[in-house]
């Protein structure tokens, strides 16, 4: 290959958790790395639900708990099943530090600064328009203004990854394999947040929301507490929105008005509205992860565990594993697909592909049984507690009998068998 002037060891496209983790790992290993970000600063185009995970974050930033701009330490998970008016909530609370809420524009910017301190070059306000290929090998990137060359290019350009598509590593995303998320960050007084969510100091709470205005849709809502704001949002599968002509922000408005949710955000003022896509295809939709001179990490590789609301941790660790693979490749001076496929092997050995494989059947089951699992049973849970808590002179035994009978008579009996079969199939795929 020709020796080129502006050539470096590695170019990473996109400064999110994946790209930054990859850059810092390479820089610490003494490799020359350029991280190219299209926004004004790292984080300025990035949106997520709200949590970073301690174990994964510590692998990249060992002292982040004292050094990074974090908001709150999450000690409570609420699972709220909303009916049209009523709700049932399960709360798990433990004085723990397994996750923190952060503001991405602050956290990513801090993380990128750390990468810079470690020796990575960060080029901001620059869009990579295409990858440069020579003899079946990716050898660099073309930005709006100039060309940069590298032994390895790592794509961390997010869920839309136009670059992975350009070189044929990724196909077009199907509307059922991606969710559109809209969210609002609502300013509220620190003390009011602590009162409403039963928190003290910098403790935080997470609310995972099922049903409500999303009853029967493949969609979930979420709330996170920040230091002096609360995040509320929802993500709904794109095909659902498209087929039904729903406007995502109107569904969010309805969620905000639900009697269980409204008191939590009452009196707050909107700080920022945002939207983002979430890859939801899971294991079966993971693209080809590498080719000659190129690897894909984070959302660009569709690495999201939607059932557990995990994304940033998969992003960070995939970035780290790609960086480790790149270091080996640079030391061997071999940037072939064969060498870079070690990245895929590392991902397979890690929790990332193991977890995604565990849930490989989840989305298919949910797509085919959404009316049952995301509507009927949600309503049924609330109906059970309505029955259980009612004091109306009707003997309890009658109530129980009526409730049990309704499970068999509400719908065709075949639906019930389909549900049982779906659950057995799903559990089998998860556990066996």
């Amino acid at each position: 290959m020709l020796k080129r002037e502006n050539k470096t060891d590695v170019i990473i496209v996109g400064a999110g958790p994946a790209g930054i983790s990859c850059a810092i790992t390479l820089a610490r290993a003494g490799k020359e790395v350029i991280l190219i970000e299209r926004g004004l600063f790292a984080g300025s185009k990035n949106v997520f639900g709200g949590a970073i995970y301690t174990q994964a974050t510590k692998e990249i930033f060992p002292n982040f708990e004292t050094e990074a701009p974090i908001e709150r330490r999450n000690i409570e998970h609420n699972f709220a099943i909303l009916g049209e008016e009523d709700s049932t909530t399960i709360t798990y609370r433990k004085n723990d530090n397994s996750s923190y809420s952060v503001i991405r524009a602050k956290f990513d910017r801090w993380a990128a600064e750390e990468a810079k301190k470690a020796g990575a070059y960060i080029v901001e306000e620059t869009v990579v328009r295409e990858l440069i290929k020579e003899k079946n090998q990716v050898i660099g990137v073309k930005t709006e203004l100039e060309e940069y060359f590298a032994d390895i290019v790592i794509l961390a350009d997010g869920v839309n990854s136009l670059l992975a598509k350009q070189i044929g590593l990724r196909k077009d995303i199907d509307t059922k394999d991606v969710a559109l998320s809209v969210k609002e960050v609502i300013k509220l007084d620190n003390q009011i947040i602590n009162q409403r969510f039963k928190l003290k100091d910098n403790e935080g709470a997470i609310v995972e929301i099922f049903g409500g205005p999303m009853l029967g849709m493949l969609g979930l809502g979420f709330m996170y507490t920040n230091t002096d704001s609360v995040t509320i949002g929802l993500g709904i599968t794109l095909n659902e929105l498209a087929e039904n002509n729903y406007r995502p922000y109107e569904i969010l408005e309805k969620l905000k008005q639900h009697p269980t949710i409204a008191p939590l955000i009452e009196g707050g003022t909107l700080k920022e509205y945002s939207a983002h896509l979430i890859p939801e295809g899971g294991y079966k939709k993971i693209p080809k992860l590498c080719d000659n001179g190129v690897m894909i990490i984070g959302d660009a590789a569709m690495l999201v565990n939607n059932l557990h609301w995990e994304g940033t941790n998969l992003a960070m660790i995939s970035g780290k594993l790609a960086a480790e693979t790149a270091v080996e490749a640079i030391d061997k001076n071999d940037f072939s697909k064969k060498t870079l496929s070690n990245y895929e092997k590392k991902l397979k050995k890690s929790f990332i592909l193991k977890d995604l494989k565990t849930y490989r059947e989840l989305m298919d089951v949910m797509h085919s049984r959404k009316n049952a699992f995301l509507c009927y049973y949600m309503k049924k849970i609330n109906a059970f507690f309505e029955m259980f808590t009612s004091v109306n002179g009707i003997p309890k035994k009658e109530n129980y009998h009526k409730f049990i009978k309704s499970i068999f008579t509400d719908r065709k009996i075949s639906e019930l068998f389909k549900d049982i079969w779906a659950i057995v199939k799903l559990l089998w795929s998860i556990l066996i």
Partner: protein, 91 residues
């Protein structure tokens, strides 16, 4: 709260030229025009009178939903230039 008030919370640096380029002839043939509803920033509006798609690209949140959902796959969707588009201060 209406959408305009939501979008008002965002910092934009709009370009003079649109980064979203639908094939307007295809849009005329499109039955669902799902972009009009799906877009979280209501970038797309259908003008019944002129039978044309209006693209308010200045409001774009750069999420990519329209790109994937466009049923005629006739949208040339690019990121705005490096200094342009939306900036999230919260994210």
């Amino acid at each position: 709260m209406n959408l305009d008030k939501k979008l008002y919370t965002l910092k934009y640096s709009p370009d003079t030229e649109s980064h979203l380029k639908p094939d307007f002839e295809q849009c005329k043939l499109c039955i669902t025009k799902c972009c009009v509803n799906i877009c979280p920033a209501q970038v797309y509006e259908w003008n019944e009178e002129t039978q044309e798609l209006i693209v308010n690209f200045e409001n774009c949140l750069e999420c990519g939903a329209c790109r994937i959902a466009c049923e005629r796959q006739c949208l040339n969707w690019q990121y705005p230039k490096g200094t342009k588009g939306v900036t999230f201060k919260q994210g």
